[in-house]
Symmetry: C2
Subunit: 340 residues, 2 copies
Amino acid sequence: MKLDLEHGVVEMAHGGGGRAMAKLIETIFLGNFDNPLLAQRNDQACFTMQAGRVAMTTDSYVIQPLFFPGGDIGSLAVHGTVNDLAMAGAKPLYLSAGFILEEGLALRDLAQIARSMAAAAREAGVFIVTGDTKVVEKGKGDGVFINTAGIGVIPDGVAPSGERARPGDAILVSGTLGDHGVAVMSKRENLAFEVDILSDAQALNGLVAAMVAEVPDIHVLRDPTRGGLAATLNEIARQAKVGMELDERAIPIKGAVRAACEFLGLDPLNVANEGKLVAICAGDQAPHLLAVMRAHPKGADSAIIGRVIQDADCFVTLKTAFGGTRMVDWLTGEQLPRIC
Amino acid sequence: MKLDLEHGVVEMAHGGGGRAMAKLIETIFLGNFDNPLLAQRNDQACFTMQAGRVAMTTDSYVIQPLFFPGGDIGSLAVHGTVNDLAMAGAKPLYLSAGFILEEGLALRDLAQIARSMAAAAREAGVFIVTGDTKVVEKGKGDGVFINTAGIGVIPDGVAPSGERARPGDAILVSGTLGDHGVAVMSKRENLAFEVDILSDAQALNGLVAAMVAEVPDIHVLRDPTRGGLAATLNEIARQAKVGMELDERAIPIKGAVRAACEFLGLDPLNVANEGKLVAICAGDQAPHLLAVMRAHPKGADSAIIGRVIQDADCFVTLKTAFGGTRMVDWLTGEQLPRIC
């Protein structure tokens, strides 16, 4: 009963809790995610933690297509959850991984996704310590959905949180916006642009560690994923009961992404990112924080893009390149469904 | 943009990261799961933990039908993950919840599922502290899939693990077997039996706390879910490199479940349970452990069902009621797909 990784597909039996599932897990997951905690082979992982503050998060990934320029659902599922932990200022430690497989999924694709997850976890310095595999009938899923949950430890004195944005604070981003959404969209729609656009999906925990080491009192950290920068800033403004003023000329967007957005009728501020963060800190600490971010390989294109102001209406506005002002609105839904 | 909880359905916009998603989360999830950590409304929950051993686990739930006699996918998603933590001897603390909703799901059903989750969490004494909501197009999911991950703390001196079963150990179960699988199957197939069969889905952390308080050195704890008792014991036998001998007459099975299994052509030992546990402990501690289990409301039908023996082949065998012996085999797949 060896798995045929070249031509085999996922069958209902692979989710049944019997021999077939054990074989799938051993062949595809345990080998790739290899670590002593996962090797315990119980229905849970057990480890020792020191006293202190802990962050816990979860995300399910339903992106289509499963493989896109610059990543796949496997690497994304690691990067996304690592980043949600990092946005608490935490050092991510352990991830869980839950797979919902659709009957008929090529085992070759599943193995590739598992390899990507393993590589992303290694690069981010986290371990996938426990997991679960379910199979649903063909037509009741979409290839593979992955849930990752994670925990991490938060250094003393670090407590970024959405409601901590204060008038006078500076708003920074760690790099160019819109790359992930446009890369996925171009693949989905089979569009070819002159310049290849790759997803920015990457783990930001190293960048965040460098940031909080120098500026522990960062008020807010958040990654502008679904809904893009616009949704993220509107959420924070509402949580903190403040307004925000952005400077369009300061917002880094790649020329190719800007052109693709114009072509597709998208506003890059609404497009999802998977390897960028927004940081909000006291105005007088912003220049130092910016320097720290720019000095890190994952923050080379960082910029101060605006400031927090007092505003009972919690509006986020943008000074345009032409000297006007417009609202940065929060869309009802998402221009690009299933982007993560 | 108020949600119509009576006639509304899930739309793609509810997964878009924008206003519609915020409204869905506020209306359906935050209200039901209400707790201070979730109310932080960041992409992660932050809390303080004491030094010590921690258990972490995850499970995705894809059960069909979503509502079944004795529970629904919401209560199951809490019970299942609480139980996986309890099987490490841990006191469960915090859960995450990731939802993958299919476009078109009735909001009324989603709200009912959220209420069930909240009630199950309250009863088990755990908090749902962080979550995620995704929406997939109609035909790309199946109503709702839920992932829950959880963490808990393990008391000193407690370390149950599959490989710790030793020849001479006793094998106990905490109650009747097969109730969950038969209840779900009867609903799915629209079967009516003379006696209503309810799922046994329930949280076992209270029972486990009572057990480890009296017998800290329980060697193995595991809940016989997918694949039933047969798969669970075969897994443990393989992990611990031992054999097992069961006594059929000692295994508690309700008459109605036994009759339904005969009718459906199922072996109750292969049928999933969601509110029972297997415990393996030193033979001389078994009578005391049994008494503790029987004294707890969730363990009233507990029984010693067999013993661990030396066997290089790791076979699990059953002395039948008629005096014969048969193998308790581990199925390749599952007789009943999507049972959890």
